[in-house]
Symmetry: C2
Subunit: 494 residues, 2 copies
Amino acid sequence: MSSAYQDLTTTWTRLHRYGHLAAIASWDQSAMMPPKGSEARALALAEMGGLMHRLRTDPQLAQQLARADKEALDDFQRANLDGIKRDWRSSNALPESLVEAISLAGSRCEHAWRTQRPANDWAGFLQNFREVLRLGREEAQRLSQATGLAPYDALMDKYEPGTTSADVDRVFGDLQQWLPGLVVQVQERQSKETVIAPVGPFPKATQRALSLDVMKLLGFDFDAGRLDESAHPFSGGVPEDTRLTTRYREDDFLQSLMGTIHETGHARYEQNLPREWLGQPVANARSMGIHESQSLSFEMQLGRSRAFASQLAPLLVAHFGDQPAFEPGNLYRMLTRAKPGLIRVDADEVTYPLHVILRYRIERQLIEGHIEAEDIPALWDESMQSLLGLDTRGNYKDGCLQDVHWSGGAFGYFPSYTLGAMYAAQWFATMHSAMPDIDARIAGGDLAPVFDWLRENIWTQASRWNTAELAKRASGEALNPQHFRRHLEARYLG
Amino acid sequence: MSSAYQDLTTTWTRLHRYGHLAAIASWDQSAMMPPKGSEARALALAEMGGLMHRLRTDPQLAQQLARADKEALDDFQRANLDGIKRDWRSSNALPESLVEAISLAGSRCEHAWRTQRPANDWAGFLQNFREVLRLGREEAQRLSQATGLAPYDALMDKYEPGTTSADVDRVFGDLQQWLPGLVVQVQERQSKETVIAPVGPFPKATQRALSLDVMKLLGFDFDAGRLDESAHPFSGGVPEDTRLTTRYREDDFLQSLMGTIHETGHARYEQNLPREWLGQPVANARSMGIHESQSLSFEMQLGRSRAFASQLAPLLVAHFGDQPAFEPGNLYRMLTRAKPGLIRVDADEVTYPLHVILRYRIERQLIEGHIEAEDIPALWDESMQSLLGLDTRGNYKDGCLQDVHWSGGAFGYFPSYTLGAMYAAQWFATMHSAMPDIDARIAGGDLAPVFDWLRENIWTQASRWNTAELAKRASGEALNPQHFRRHLEARYLG
């Protein structure tokens, strides 16, 4: 007779396989699907969501979980059982009808958003979004009841297990004290620098070839993944086959290049999760904050370093031809230019957290019912003004319609970006302490020390430890936001 | 309370949605997936096959079917119930373990075939293929027991409901009488013609642009489908979102162009199936022979006609520049060149049926156990010699390894190609009788009469009637192979 634990792993392997189909269909939905496929795709994904939910809420799982708890399990199995329990608990908090409704409303709203955003059509978006918000609130209430967490915290817990809004308030509260001042200081300092702008156009096909070369430099395994285009860049697919997307503007190659570097960080995490456990929760990425710490390790810590600029410069020359802007020192100044802007995904690492704080404030109030969907634009304008000094009135397109997250019902995700930036700073502080020559090695083209450290300390650890324990094992301490502050001060004021 | 019939349609709608995900993942497997994704994809698709099989073999369906039989249903519902019963009967003939094994073995064999074929590696292919054949025979046995058909007929019935090997023997027996002689006559006649060869190379990107233009001319709806590349061209996806593939050779644009025209015929059938019934068996394409009658109506009847050549010529000039080969008369001679060759998918419409007869003979003997997998190459060589006068010894790549069908376990499909060619000739004979000016209209750029006739008589009829009845309603008679003979004689000896 198989053990209860084994029975549970069999079910979770099945879920992994169903999830594989849903993940590929979701990638396709954003990267490949023509518009008339939308309705059928939404129905198919909702049906699959319902099926997976039924599997996770099968009444016999409660018994299996109780029995497995008493079985002799090693540490790894115990960590896996914890992950299974987490999945089980959150699924049982939600009725299948709600899961399907969330999937359908999210697909529809997101699909319409793709054309509403360029059309600046906030009123049209609202029509779908009200339902997405209503369902998000219901999800938060039910998860709150099941977990004992506050409603917003219960949503955030999906992405950032163990982190509460009290933690976020503390970290973001600190940030708000010193970051706006730093932004002003950095801008003042940079106003005295000369940065030579690159001269375009930069043809799409050339940008794509450059992206592929940089992904190769960054160790992406092209036999286990792809690079495509989508309206909103993302990293999707499955660990065995990761699918990155980017988008190209012919007047600006940096946007797609840095986006690609960012997504490659996500991808290398997925590609290096422990293969022998794939399909089990213990083999999943630890949290979205840790995931973003990988993309931001690549994009910000490594990708905008002086050392990396000297590796990037010859690639730019090879693809676009030589021009003064590609001199390594000038390139580094380009990569570290800080300036308040409207778009989060285009923001530099100095102003980025302010975009996140804005979204965190709004989505928390939305979920807690203090504001309604209609109130978003006014709050957006107000926060953009106070945090970044920018006027966004009437510009929904580059304002509150710019992100895909809310359209798909992903409330509680945004804090992960800034937690990720902080973890990334902490990882690189640790690497610099352990390997004082690491910058010289990177500048000499040897990126292995970075990848080896991340592989050993983060990627292969998957969900073996909780986030605080993972951070302690990797860097000697739980999240310490001071590393992020020191990083910004060293790079931008040093 | 819902009727039993309604309960059944609910289940089949669910199957349609699961099938949607499987169809997109299968398309992706052939058109997009990197090699290391293969194993996980095969497992995910097999898992889905198992799930769909469990749904189709749910014990309560037997009762629902019995009850639905006695309910008041209109003709359309009755035809749909027949389709549901067919699905149910064939699924219940097979245990789930066999369905999953077939899916897994087929995925693995097909995946390996992609590299074994170019490597001419018959021995390597055999290692996977023996298992595929063993499972195919088991499937045939079990379907035979459930349907009362002979084992090979039971497999063919999946693609060509109501057609038996006795029917195929009669049709193919007739063909064998006159077709090899016709091939000789046509070659003799064409040896006196002068055909100016087009001068390449023809860049891939330009060929793709031409393909898209021709698809537009043929009425393909790009908001509900895509054109991509794959090793073996196919038409896949779902009716709401059809996915065609082609492959490009820079020294020969006709291969990809005619392949695209072929797949566009399949796609227009799918895109014009009755929307209000989608998801139900009655809204599916009638049979694979009827499906091929659409691709061959496009590729052979329309696509290689003198009238269409005059439409195609200016497009070729627009994309590749003017050259003597593109003069409409010369182009028509190129399009109707008949010559025995090694590759089925590149064969002209005169020699094509001989490729099918060869495969039909071999696969039938394989399934009936008269020969083993090891015997295929010798039989292949012998038949290629006797039917087409070609020596294929040692050339597995362009011999018995050339098709994808057997690697994936699709035994019993090949006859559909030639039945399709015959139905296509029958449709066009009917159109010519009803609309004597149709060639003049096509030559003048008005393709609407062809599309209107196909839409009204084939596409929107879906599976409302059995195949013989569909043919009678469309053309006044069931399949009559004489139309095909007359078509070949008129076009090639006329």
